[in-house]
Subunit: 263 residues, 6 copies
Amino acid sequence: MRIRFIEPIGTDTWVQPVAEALQKIANPGTEIEVVSLRNPHCPYHIEYHAYEGLVAGDIIKVTRDAGLKGFDAVVVSCFYDPYLREAREVSGNAVVVGPCQASFETVATLANKVSVIVGRRKWINHMEERVRHYGYGHMLASFKPVELGVEDFQKDPQETERRMIAAAEEAIEKDGAEAIILGCTQEFGFYDTLQQHLGVPVIDCAFAAFKRAEQLADLKIRFGWTPSRKWSCEAPPEEAEIQAWGVFNDDDPPIDSSVTVRA
Amino acid sequence: MRIRFIEPIGTDTWVQPVAEALQKIANPGTEIEVVSLRNPHCPYHIEYHAYEGLVAGDIIKVTRDAGLKGFDAVVVSCFYDPYLREAREVSGNAVVVGPCQASFETVATLANKVSVIVGRRKWINHMEERVRHYGYGHMLASFKPVELGVEDFQKDPQETERRMIAAAEEAIEKDGAEAIILGCTQEFGFYDTLQQHLGVPVIDCAFAAFKRAEQLADLKIRFGWTPSRKWSCEAPPEEAEIQAWGVFNDDDPPIDSSVTVRA
Amino acid sequence: MRIRFIEPIGTDTWVQPVAEALQKIANPGTEIEVVSLRNPHCPYHIEYHAYEGLVAGDIIKVTRDAGLKGFDAVVVSCFYDPYLREAREVSGNAVVVGPCQASFETVATLANKVSVIVGRRKWINHMEERVRHYGYGHMLASFKPVELGVEDFQKDPQETERRMIAAAEEAIEKDGAEAIILGCTQEFGFYDTLQQHLGVPVIDCAFAAFKRAEQLADLKIRFGWTPSRKWSCEAPPEEAEIQAWGVFNDDDPPIDSSVTVRA
Amino acid sequence: MRIRFIEPIGTDTWVQPVAEALQKIANPGTEIEVVSLRNPHCPYHIEYHAYEGLVAGDIIKVTRDAGLKGFDAVVVSCFYDPYLREAREVSGNAVVVGPCQASFETVATLANKVSVIVGRRKWINHMEERVRHYGYGHMLASFKPVELGVEDFQKDPQETERRMIAAAEEAIEKDGAEAIILGCTQEFGFYDTLQQHLGVPVIDCAFAAFKRAEQLADLKIRFGWTPSRKWSCEAPPEEAEIQAWGVFNDDDPPIDSSVTVRA
Amino acid sequence: MRIRFIEPIGTDTWVQPVAEALQKIANPGTEIEVVSLRNPHCPYHIEYHAYEGLVAGDIIKVTRDAGLKGFDAVVVSCFYDPYLREAREVSGNAVVVGPCQASFETVATLANKVSVIVGRRKWINHMEERVRHYGYGHMLASFKPVELGVEDFQKDPQETERRMIAAAEEAIEKDGAEAIILGCTQEFGFYDTLQQHLGVPVIDCAFAAFKRAEQLADLKIRFGWTPSRKWSCEAPPEEAEIQAWGVFNDDDPPIDSSVTVRA
Amino acid sequence: MRIRFIEPIGTDTWVQPVAEALQKIANPGTEIEVVSLRNPHCPYHIEYHAYEGLVAGDIIKVTRDAGLKGFDAVVVSCFYDPYLREAREVSGNAVVVGPCQASFETVATLANKVSVIVGRRKWINHMEERVRHYGYGHMLASFKPVELGVEDFQKDPQETERRMIAAAEEAIEKDGAEAIILGCTQEFGFYDTLQQHLGVPVIDCAFAAFKRAEQLADLKIRFGWTPSRKWSCEAPPEEAEIQAWGVFNDDDPPIDSSVTVRA
């Protein structure tokens, strides 16, 4: 089973450490390729929606490339779940997974009300729209910002943890949360301590997304449950348009750096 | 990993064949116990909501028993997803899965609109309520009844298949379905043929539920993501009530027959 | 007119006092039978959802028995409105009423926003789900817990009243409630004092449920408005299944104690 | 108990026959006053929304007058449930009831899906908005027009019945209705025949509204459950505005004709 | 282009100043007629829903009159958007606009979350119902009352401004508002100062309504986009009913005072 | 007033004709710049969601460029309303408009139920999601596909018109539409004939979008109602990120061809 894990940013800072972290939680036999994008414009984060839009094309191209190269699943590693509809259309047989959807699917059998710890208030409206779009709006207890940007989470882990615990405790006591989702893929490394401290499930969204990709890839291989290509899921015509117009330059996917590990 | 798969009916007819079928699709190392209920009143099906209610207590007892015996996950094998809220409350650390929720979680990344093939119109209102409760109402293209009772699906498989294909084709062409869910655990053995014939994903709800249980059990073991016990998920007090009042007779779970297999 | 009022618990503590209380508010000619369940496991309350599920079967059996014995209406006396769908299916011509639905139907013409005083936060998620299921979600100002269990309400009535008034005043001033529902059938004896103190309608849910049963029984007798038996309301086949399989033991309904009064 | 039943039209054609019909279904001791409006402009019907608006003022004045004269409840007899919010504000202690809300409250315990037989397609959007506003949208199977205006229903009862049966049968078989509401107060005299023919509950909306008024008046008298006067339900200040500005001419309510009967 | 701007109250206090204010913001060539109603009962405000209902008939008559006299658009100048459905039905080719709908249409492209500054808590439920009816419920951050009646806003402008700023700042900081709507047509004269102070868009609802009327009148003239007269929008039959019954007295629209200006 | 009208495709085929068409409907003094994108990959249409994603970056860049150059409003001319959230974030003071939102805002005061004529079933799910996101879901009568791709609408205008009329008539008679939206900017040139034939408003979505841009630009200039920059609308930091990282190459917006006209 092969999974491509896309860091939708233009820096290779996290490629190696993420690959190592995923290797530790992967099932035996899973091959994981972690990639960052070649896009030179948004090296560090896609907190802003304009930045997100600037990498849309690259996400789509790298997803299509994954489908062509026989990957079984693709993760777009940002809690905005950016451009899943678009990427899924050209993923071929590869299943495409986002951390927000995966986290809610994971928690849906474990709790009735959930709060999401986010970095900044900026993010909330977009994420809430995502959650409601998926149909999980009734599960939302609250979004709790800790006033940290994406790049700040790992700067002073102790301070980050302190803020996360404070936010989570308020979410539980005041907002009625019964479980917590860490709503940014950069909030890694905290779930376990928080979970033990709080006594409720604490979902690491990057881990949730990766394991969900493995799960769905398994179903795809075992039962042939590949993405539908009917109606709204119809892919563009390969010859008449994609080839004729040169829509994709398939020899040159905009991948900046990549690391492949195997569990 | 140990999974208990509950047939919520009072007959052992399906215990052995289901165990064998699950064995074939389980991950290596998964131990599966398939059980039927001792309840003498509803041997054959729980199509009627009153029947469903009559086995509620047994479902809860057998789920609690699974938690006490260290099972990692429990499947309640009926597309009504009967009494998950109640069973989850006393499941201890075991995750509790239902085929309806599992099927929609499976298909949510594969298609935008889905139709569910059901036996009788009787079932639709209850199932639609479940689907909307989970938050997947916007994904529903339609429920398509084939006018067969639960016990009829396996009587004349060719006729069943003919009706299923007719219903699914209408669902796709007229209702806009992009994927199909077989909405009864007795609709097993058909998904593959249908999928090849129709060219869209066709989800076997029993397989979806079992694999979902395996997936969530894996997350539970790996990350400690067990059911929340906070607020609405709080379990009853063990000593002060369960023991003091003798709420459960834990030595005697109402299991009629059971088969254990290992993949 | 005959109404069966089911206390869905395994104790006869409240049977006599409830019968006397209902007798005082019944219309002339109404015969009221108050019953508790024989179920030995949950003598005192069904606050926990597992307990609720353990008495599901008995609620259904006692409701069916009421239909067979010619009762016009049945009340299942718990604000969770437990298993109305299931009980209604086999109630014959008897109308089945729950306190939550009845309270909202009562208040819907009196106010636009309502708060519900409940015992513990545990209850809220389940009750809110009920309220939203009925379609009254837009009327909800808030649920206000007073941190008392079902059995505590009548222990120290002065303290209970004090907490209820505090919760209701906050509901009105802060949450915008225009009326109050006492969201537990054990919160009886308080509505009148609260109503005079607060100056807004205060609904006793047990009284609302009983009077609603009388009202619907009257419509049933007068206009033939009995429960539908079409589609999702279809009852199980009496001969082919209920008798053939011995689904119900109609000679022996699981009634523990019963008191009949006449207004 | 005294109930005022407002025909919100400027003709006395139906005052006497409606009074007689209600007399037959009233509880002993209920006094019923049926009134029509003095408004000279819309003698025959308020199918059009502009007509409805033209009688808004009179409905409010006659409702206020009922409150001042000590009526316990008021029915505004049109399935649009016209201006209940406005009328309720100045009804004093009288409860104000509309046939649409009353019909759905009546049927909510009897069936899960309901169709409404209406006269013309014109009506549907407004009525559907009402039904969704109350929170009963999930119960709607369909609105079925029979292409008759309000004044036509009683012209050729046999033809009306024929059309109603055809519409109801289609509602049941095709749309999944489990009960039928006759969605115009002029559709009286048909419910019984239809009910026997169709085998599902058929609700006469005028009867449902009148009996609902009796029920709520009973609760009002017995428990003091009068309309809230808090927040959005606050009534205008009597002295500082109503008297000072002469808002109402209370000596001269715009009642055209009235008939009082006693059951 | 001719626009009638209806002050739905029985005083001419605001007719002249509003005409002058609109003249300053109108496009060249727009003719504006500001009118108040002859209705003697509600001279000062329609805060109470009963008052609103008392002027319903006059709003409808004056709107119909506008259509007959060739106005291109009508504004009903109250944030309750009173009786738009009714007035639109008989407006002929004139487009009918309300301040609430217009304000949300204006802000919908400028911000994702909006708070509305209102006078009293009394108003909120009705206004929220309007906003949700239009479909803008997801944009609501909050309603913020400043505890002033309609007539109070202009009494002590400094105090009004102080309260508005306090409410708006809380709306932004606590409720997450990204823009502010001044939710009463009497809240004029404040938007500009608030906007500069707060740094977010502050919508004057009367200006928004007037400009929306101009815009829609332009589309009507240019593209023939007049109100639909199909199905629920069907107008009453002119000869067979309106003339035959004398529904409207078109020679005598209930206009109290009017001022016409031209930009 | 200056408006940039973006054709989000990589061909200049429509730039000149669209500029001429808009010039005819613009207000005096409006300057219109119509531009196509330099993106070489999707010359002809963005029917497929992947194509849409491939031009996301360019839409954002060209919108930012419009803000920097002092345009008052921007139209992104595709009924998918592609990437408005992203583009709005960096539009500076320019208002950003999409044809779908603009069309519904236009029709919302003219009719209660609307159908949208689209090219292919492929489009519907995405568009319906947009419409529901805006809050206009309750206005949807139906989407009606005419089985034409974007490029086909203008190939055989007579056949296109024939299909549109057939679809619109079915929408009106069967689905209850009271107005029609032509749901593709390539469906231009048909609204007038259809409107006269059908007798209900028929909205040309490109015209609706352009006029909406003019309207909102007027409000922006007159009242300072520019896009909010608070919370979710916060723009990225210009110096610390945009300049420091070189996010945008502002000297080189990806515009392929442009035509400027003045009305």
